[in-house]
């Protein structure tokens, strides 16, 4: 089967599509031209750089280089998730809980799969681990940001109710249960919806990529299922760890709701 390359010159042609979006923005006075241009440039630079980095990584396959790549990805995911949370008792303290939650989600979703299901040789084969880990970490990042933001925002809005529960003798866990539950459910919904509608409207990214590069759809579907199930696990674990750690930020050691 043949594979159609995209030459750089033609890639430049696609930039016109972004120009169309910028024109629309100007016509409709959305005032987004600047953002569109910046997003396009940044996206292009990031992806091209990543392309080269991956090439390098695959050429010199080594446990350490893989570990380094995974660490950088995890750190950036944690940093981004922490930055997206606007309501928090202490915004500067968000990085470590986010890192812990994303790492936990990543470990739970990746280790069993690469130990038992997708077993490339060598096992630290970047071609397999990096893309799949990337999907897990970015889902964990979204779930953690959503969970934390929602828990903190609702804890603030519903502070009198939480304090009432504490006054009745509730533990912080009991007092925050309703907010935690709502936040976790909301954070997991996009992942679950992804499973419900998969294939009906859009084909998921991984499968699309494999089909375009010539893999039999039957095999591509299997990979995709693995990934979708992993995404459910990563969402649940990362969200749950984030929610648990958010409690430490919201309550003092004397089980008081921190004013914020």
């Amino acid at each position: 089967m043949s594979y159609v390359e995209v030459p750089l010159t033609r890639l430049a042609l696609v930039a016109l599509l972004v120009a169309i979006a910028a024109l629309v923005s100007r016509r409709a006075r959305l005032d987004l031209e600047g953002s569109i241009a910046w997003a396009a440039v940044r996206g292009a630079v990031q992806l091209l750089a990543v392309g080269y980095a991956l090439r390098l990584l695959f050429a010199y396959e080594h446990v350490l280089s893989l570990a380094l790549a995974l660490s950088v990805m995890t750190l950036v995911a944690a940093w981004t998730a922490a930055r997206r949370v606007e309501h928090a008792p202490d915004r500067r303290a968000l990085f470590w809980p986010a890192l812990a939650a994303i790492t936990a989600g990543g470990v739970v979703s990746l280790v069993p799969v690469f130990a038992l299901v997708i077993t490339p040789t060598p096992w630290y084969s970047g071609r397999y681990v990096i893309p799949i880990a990337g999907m897990m970490l970015s889902n964990a990042m979204n779930v953690v940001a959503l969970t934390l933001e929602r828990i903190f925002a609702s804890a603030r809005a519903e502070a009198p109710r939480i304090e009432q529960l504490l006054a009745l003798g509730a533990s912080p866990e009991q007092a925050l249960h309703a907010q935690e539950r709502a936040a976790l459910r909301a954070a997991m919904t996009p992942t679950l919806n992804g499973l419900f509608t998969v294939g009906l409207v859009a084909l998921p990214g991984m499968m699309t990529g494999q089909i375009v590069s010539g893999i039999d759809p039957k095999s591509a579907v299997r990979y995709q299922l693995v990934v979708l199930f992993q995404l459910v696990a990563v969402a649940a674990v990362a969200g749950w760890v984030a929610a648990t750690l958010s409690r430490r930020m919201l309550f003092t050691s004397r089980e008081q709701l921190r004013p914020f």
Partner: protein, 225 residues
């Protein structure tokens, strides 16, 4: 103060030198306070003087920046927060209702500890605040302001506390209903409950036969302002 009373074996809730600094201002400023079981103390004072803040500190829901709260002479810091709060109940100014029925609300405290109060027990608690047993099945979200206030009181009593901190318990009630609540509160004190009642209404202290204290800009004084 606290120790001498405890030496005589009388239960007491007290505080010494309470201070709370917020944004460079002293919301509480060297507050000394003590009340014995079976007594009622009224705290009066203008809006914003720190009455609600004092109650929240006494309930250990707010950490003071100076001083300490004592229960039977034991520093609050030496008592597990949940134990302390079961023994010292607090009903805020506008007590929020929890999910479910009135019965769910009244049973909330014991349920948090894994206990399940019987319907009879729930009715008993409602009776203490002058609410009919038929109230138990009403959804809490539908209640009027005055009904909420009474359910909140019943909910606090379901934990069988030794002290009860009430923040303007009659604010949402008409004169007649307020009088009835004050009567109930007085009866609770006769049964040995220690009560701290924040009120705007100068006649309440007399109606409760309570010791009056007045707050002013974070300072607490004996007698009226």
């Amino acid at each position: 103060m606290g120790e001498s009373e405890d030496a005589r074996g009388v239960r007491s809730l007290s505080a010494r030198g309470l201070g709370l600094a917020r944004e460079g201002r002293n919301v509480l400023d060297g507050v000394d306070f003590a009340i014995e079981a079976g007594a009622i103390a009224c705290i009066e004072g203008p809006s914003g003087c720190g009455k609600s803040t004092l109650l929240r500190v006494l309930a250990t829901l707010l950490e003071p920046t100076a001083g300490e709260v004592y229960l039977e002479g034991v520093a609050a810091h030496a008592i597990a927060p949940r134990t302390f709060r079961r023994r010292v109940a607090y009903v805020p100014q506008q007590a929020p209702m929890l999910e479910g029925t009135v019965a769910d609300n009244v049973a909330a405290g014991p349920r948090l500890r894994g206990a399940q109060p019987t319907p009879t027990r729930v009715e008993q608690c409602l009776a203490l605040v002058g609410l009919d047993g038929a109230f138990a099945a009403r959804p809490a979200s539908e209640l009027s302001g005055g009904e909420r206030q009474r359910v909140a009181l019943a909910r606090a009593l379901a934990n069988e506390p030794e002290f009860l901190l009430l923040d303007e318990p009659t604010a949402a009630l008409d004169t007649r209903a307020a009088e009835r609540i004050l009567e109930r509160v007085r009866a609770l004190a006769r049964e040995g409950l220690g009560l701290v009642v924040v009120t705007h209404e100068p006649t309440h202290a007399a109606a409760l036969g309570a010791r009056r204290r007045t707050m002013h800009a974070g300072r607490l004084r004996e007698g009226e302002g």
